[in-house]
């Protein structure tokens, strides 16, 4: 399994978790971003994701490397989905493991926070009566 991965297929959080498991692990932390059915009270039909893929993979790998070094992780896996993602399905999975749990929690939260700031992936919310590129406008 690839550690850094972008796909139009459903994500597999279980495989991501297994990929970071190792005999020396004291804690695994997994973040799963799922598609929410409401945004500002408005009902969302589904999301559509697109990416500038080579750069997105590069920025995702940068996050995983930085987090692994900074928190002394065993490993971090980041998988992101593209295309149409229905409500409740996973848009992103970040899994990491380390000897101690505090580091794994901090690293996982850092990774999703940073992904949302730096990785060139864009999400369009599709409503019954229109669509909006998320965060595009102030």
């Amino acid at each position: 399994m690839k550690d850094i991965f972008i796909t139009e297929d459903q994500l597999d959080a279980k495989a991501c978790t297994e990929a970071v498991t190792y005999p020396g692990a004291g804690g695994l932390v997994v973040f799963i971003g799922t598609v929410r059915n409401l945004t500002k009270g408005r009902s969302v039909k589904h999301l559509e994701f697109e990416a500038y893929e080579p750069m997105a993979l590069k920025e995702m790998a940068k996050i995983a490397n930085e987090a692994t070094n900074k928190w002394g992780l065993h490993k971090m896996v980041i998988h992101h989905r593209l295309g149409l993602v229905p409500i409740e399905e996973e848009a992103v999975v970040i899994a990491c493991s380390s000897a101690h749990r505090k580091e794994a929690f901090e690293a996982c939260e850092y990774a999703i926070d940073t992904l949302k700031e730096t990785v060139p992936i864009w999400k369009k919310e599709v409503f019954e009566d229109g669509e909006v590129w998320v965060s595009a406008h102030p």
Binding site: M55, P120, A136
Partner: protein, 80 residues
Amino acid sequence: MEIQIIAFGIAKDIINGKKVTLSLTDEHTVGEARRKLSSEFPDFSKLASLKFAVNANYVEDNHLLTADDEVVLIPPVSGG
């Protein structure tokens, strides 16, 4: 110098397409490309931010462009 720029997300909607070609006549920088783009497509000024990537790296406005560069518009990202 002619520069082709690739758009993603809302930037595609603003230029009404996947790519746009700009003529750079002054210092051939990202800053010049940004100014030309904003004057041709005023809607870019409404975005929360607009970054440029060259060959899959974020660059600043003083970055010099060459004709072979892959130049990509990065409107506010919203992954995750």
